[in-house]
Subunit: 231 residues, 2 copies
DNA sequence: TCCCAAAACTGAATAGCATTCATTTTTAAA
DNA sequence: TTTAAAAATGAATGCTATTCAGTTTTGGGA
């Protein structure tokens, strides 16, 4: 009952979790094995089962700590930004920045947790997705401000942004982090925020928008992407 | 050497693959077991290992057949559509339609293959991503036509669209297919094609665009999405 | 400082599942 | 009908998560 009571236990649990992040982050869930985690954590294999029900339970525990770190950083980075669009841009930047800085956790989050049906039911998942409410609020704020299209359900917009960001991180991981995750941020975010269709569809001005920038940027970028085998 | 030689073998292989789609499509790769696949395919467990190196090899073989079916259907559905934007919209529809009709394969493709690093190196992967070149061509076509923003690398646009579509399918699967995958198509595609930011940013017309549609649609949709727990 | 009961930890034993392989059955050309 | 090669079989193997009976550590009380 006394807070000192579980201090020792907590320390070993932390050791186990830290080792688990390393091991799960370095290979797939299947390839990772408990014995290696135990060795890295300097505990017996049996000890792990005193802290976690099983291998999956250990995996699902991982996001708790990192989500807290993510949220703290997010809050800090959004401070002082007024406009919703700028907040969204900053959010996208921070999201990519965070996973770039935490590649082991990124692999666990994107390649294991994100597609695991069982994870959806856990406590860790609620934390993992908890901050996405904040994103929703920013979108609503932008719709009220008039800087974000109001004829769309904010949930759809939220899904769009998350989908794109998660997709980019996933592709980056699968390509062995060969390219810089932040390099594409500006273009991708610009696309999401501005849309890909030329400006003459709903609008009244046709030709002007159409020919905005011909192709200098395009052609030079094409080469970059080809080399880096993004797809 | 004679084509008749392997006919029998091919038949059992097909049986195994069909059983594998059912079993892998019903539970996770980890939870699925070879014995169940063997039982469903009405062969001995050992037989599977005469056709496939191991469990993973069997999983990776699955997309070969379905990718062909996907491409055939895609080609058919794009026929007769001239405009690149319409083609993209049709592509998005077909993509979602295909996975809606093939939920077992969808689970295998989105929740297992898509995030598997080893899969990226296989023959099956090249087929799996092969059709995405067609998508790229449509985007380039649209840029030349002037219907799609030309100041963007088409690869980025391609990633955006694929990312959003894959994300929607993934979320749908994780939520037990509770909602209709096609229900969100129009809005999501519209967002991708038109962008989420209000039209007054680059343009010259400010206030007019801002207030386009106030919020009737928004509020009614909000309810829908809340109930369906999309996020 | 020593005692001891509860809390933690340990690692050998167990169990489940993928994979192997020696053997049997089937195939189809001669 | 014969027979050698091709396929199929399933019991045996090995690997790894999980269990559990036993050992060590902890920390409050005498």
């Amino acid at each position: 009952m006394n807070p000192t009571h579980n201090r020792k236990k907590d320390m070993t649990r932390d050791q186990i979790v830290r080792a688990a992040i390393q091991v799960f982050g370095g290979k797939s869930y299947l390839e990772a094995n408990i014995s290696e985690i135990a060795q890295k954590a300097e505990v017996a294999e049996g000890t792990i089962y005193q802290h976690f029900k099983n291998k999956e339970d250990l995996l699902f525990f991982i996001p708790r700590e990192r989500t807290a770190a993510f949220c703290e950083g997010l809050e800090l980075h959004l401070q002082g930004i007024q406009d919703a669009s700028n907040k969204l841009a900053k959010f996208a930047w921070y999201y990519l920045y965070f996973f770039k800085e935490n590649p082991e956790y990124a692999r666990i989050a994107m390649l294991e947790l994100r597609v695991n049906k069982n994870f959806q039911k856990t406590k860790g998942y609620r934390l993992f997705r908890g901050w996405s409410d904040a994103l929703l609020d920013i979108i609503k704020e932008g719709q009220e401000e008039g800087t974000i299209r109001a004829d769309m359900d904010p949930h759809i917009v939220q899904e769009l942004l998350l989908g794109v960001l998660e997709h980019y991180v996933t592709r980056w991981l699968l390509k062995d982090e060969k390219w810089d995750l932040l390099e594409f941020r500006e273009h991708a975010v610009d696309l999401v925020l501005n849309g890909i269709r030329a400006r003459d569809v709903q609008g009244t001005k046709g030709e002007a928008a159409r020919k905005e920038k011909p192709s200098e940027i395009t052609s030079s970028q094409k080469k970059t992407f080809k080399n880096k085998q993004m797809v």
